[in-house]
Symmetry: C2
Subunit: 194 residues, 2 copies
């Protein structure tokens, strides 16, 4: 069986999301994987969903796609703030709970603490070696790439988080970091199958 | 058996996180629930974790707490951006995949689209009735409280998302919206048990 890999990420919000998903799937195929996009139709959508809102159907379809996959790759490039897109991170947590390997990549290599401080700007204050935001809430400083649940889940599942610093204008268009991650996924899934 | 409810949220980053967790648990007790905080120790931590980093142990402990609970309440108040805290949303996705009910609350009632546009400021542009950010990525406009995976999961699981508009200086301190949510959780879990 060719392993199926769910491709989570805010890439679905790009104007060229559908052709981009096809490009991502082509990269997966090159490494012996079937890429599954959140934009893919289900083979058959349950009749019970017909009365639901479009948003509710998208949600249920994504959950069904994730359940049908053997692993998940999350595009964790920071999205409208210092952290990854919450929809993507929801899906990462969902797949982690299913006990299957989760992988991630980001097109910035700036650590989470530095990104958080840049986001907070002058609102960030330091006390006894720790950083706090304007509401007095601690800024995570574990030297990780994002919130510890993300890094922790990827590591505990046997996955890998690949990051590289790309120029901002290539942050959402360049496939090189994604491809590096796909290589890792293919190698790990082959190890498991062996 | 008294139902156990995992209390997810960035409240763990507050300076008074431990006494606040105790207050939240007292509210849960008042409605016949056991509140479980991410800050709680495990009854016994696996010996295999002793070599792990603090961040990795926190991650595994939180996953173990979630697995031990019957439901989850997520504090979805926007955190450092227009969306909820990603660690919280990871945990919501995790519990959703376990098939147990997930609930949420937020101390703002401003819809996700309005929050996203306020966050983006002049970078947001409108075209054919849709909104895009500075990278050309669509802004979700489903009339929901946050990313559709969050609203969708809560709804599909039989949970409830409670929001109320509190003044910014009470956004992380006031327990009233949390308590409204606990009331809903207690009622739903009683329905299920019946």
């Amino acid at each position: 069986m060719i392993p199926r890999v769910y491709l989570a990420g805010p890439d679905v919000f790009l104007a060229d999301a559908v052709p981009r998903a096809e490009q991502a799937k082509a990269i997966c195929r090159r490494y012996g994987l079937i890429g599954v996009s959140p934009l893919d139709a289900l083979d058959e959508e349950p009749a019970a969903w017909s009365g639901l809102s479009e948003a509710a159907r998208i949600h249920l379809r994504n959950e069904a796609h994730i359940r049908s996959c053997d692993a998940l790759i999350a595009n964790l490039t920071p999205f409208r703030g210092p952290s990854a897109d919450v929809g993507t991170v929801f899906e990462l947590g969902f797949m982690r709970a299913l006990g299957r390997p989760v992988f991630g990549y980001a097109t910035t290599a700036v650590p989470f603490l530095a990104r958080s401080l840049a986001f907070l700007g002058p609102a960030a204050t330091s006390r006894d070696g720790a950083w706090y935001d304007g509401a007095g809430m601690l800024v995570e400083a574990f030297g990780l790439s994002d919130n510890l649940m993300i890094d922790g889940a990827i590591s505990a599942s046997g996955g890998v988080l690949v990051t590289a610093e790309l120029p901002p204008d290539r942050r959402w268009s360049d496939f090189s970091v994604f491809e590096d991650c796909v290589v890792q996924v293919a190698a790990r899934l082959a190890d498991r199958a062996a």
